[in-house]
């Protein structure tokens, strides 16, 4: 754990982290892009999840829908990761110790594992429905735990 703390302190002292921490404008600006990116991740993936569950978006097949939607989900996720890393760097020791922050990462792993399983196990209807439900629940909880970070961060 000493090693982890050293890494966090090193990150905190980098120029980028210091700039975000000490500017009145940079943190909210990066955070705004982070929120936009998350909204796009969840707003796009929810269209696929709801389609898998059989609610709405029925005009196209699942395959057509995922081909149209998922590149935008992945691009938005990349943007959310980069901006999230910048926010984390501005105050790494406290984010790392924050309960909702850790929960959010656990849920991200779960959502990622679920998505990987869906692509590996293919398109059997029951599995697809279950996968859509798990994905939707994960992303709802990710948004809630992310919002909770702002109320609990030291």
């Amino acid at each position: 754990m000493v090693f982890v703390q050293d890494m966090l302190l090193w990150l905190q002292d980098t120029d980028v982290a210091t700039a975000i921490r000490e500017s009145d404008l940079l943190f909210p600006a990066v955070e705004t892009v982070h929120v936009l990116a998350i909204a796009l991740v969840v707003g796009t993936i929810a269209q696929v999840d709801l389609r898998l569950l059989g609610f709405g978006f029925r005009g196209r097949t699942v395959a057509e829908l995922t081909r149209a939607v998922l590149p935008w989900t992945l691009g938005s996720f990349l943007l959310a990761s980069v901006t999230g890393a910048l926010l984390f760097a501005s105050n790494p020791v406290h984010y790392f110790a924050n309960g909702p922050f850790r929960l959010k990462f656990l849920l991200l792993l779960l959502a990622g594992g679920n998505a990987a399983l869906f692509h590996l196990l293919g398109r059997r209807p029951v599995a697809a429905r279950l996968s859509g439900a798990v994905s939707l629940c994960c992303w709802v909880a990710i948004i809630a735990s992310g919002r909770w970070i702002g109320f609990t961060l030291q």
Partner: protein, 152 residues
């Protein structure tokens, strides 16, 4: 007048009740964010389709018939959850310049969306795609900025 209204609202029983339960504001904000995600997901594909940059296998009208109900339904839910947040902490929003910007932009974008909806049979111009994408991103940004421009 607005500060007086804030004070009156903050002293109502319902505002006090919402303020006493500490999970109400973060919980309702989380639902508000989920609805923002739903709206932004629909806005993304509507804006791109209007611009002709994505999903051109479908007509604008077909895409809009799928996406517009998500936007209108989402906005209705956002109004309801937003109202709860205002009652819980009136001065945080009602005396806040970022909130004023957000409401102004929202009003404009509702008119733009209505305009697009009415033009569907004649294929709305591409410019409305750009206006849709930029306008809704602006609403989201102004909303996030409420936390940083509190006056009281």
């Amino acid at each position: 007048m607005i500060p007086a209204f804030c004070n009156w609202l903050a002293e109502t029983r319902i505002s006090a009740a919402l303020g006493r339960v500490e999970w109400v504001v973060p919980g309702v904000q989380s639902v508000h964010l989920l609805l923002i995600a739903a709206v932004m997901g629909a806005v993304l594909f509507l804006g791109l389709r209007l611009l002709g940059l994505h999903g051109t296998a479908e007509s604008v009208a077909v895409a809009a018939r799928r996406l517009l109900p998500v936007i209108w339904g989402g906005v209705a839910g956002l109004g309801a959850t937003g109202a709860v947040l205002i009652v819980a902490e009136p001065a945080r929003e009602l005396t806040n310049p970022a909130f004023g910007c957000k409401m102004l932009l929202l009003g404009l974008m509702l008119l733009v969306t209505l305009h697009v909806q009415r033009q569907l049979s004649r294929a709305p111009g591409r410019v409305w795609g750009a206006v849709t994408l930029i306008g809704w991103v602006g609403i989201l940004a102004a909303g996030r900025w409420i936390a940083y421009t509190q006056v009281l």
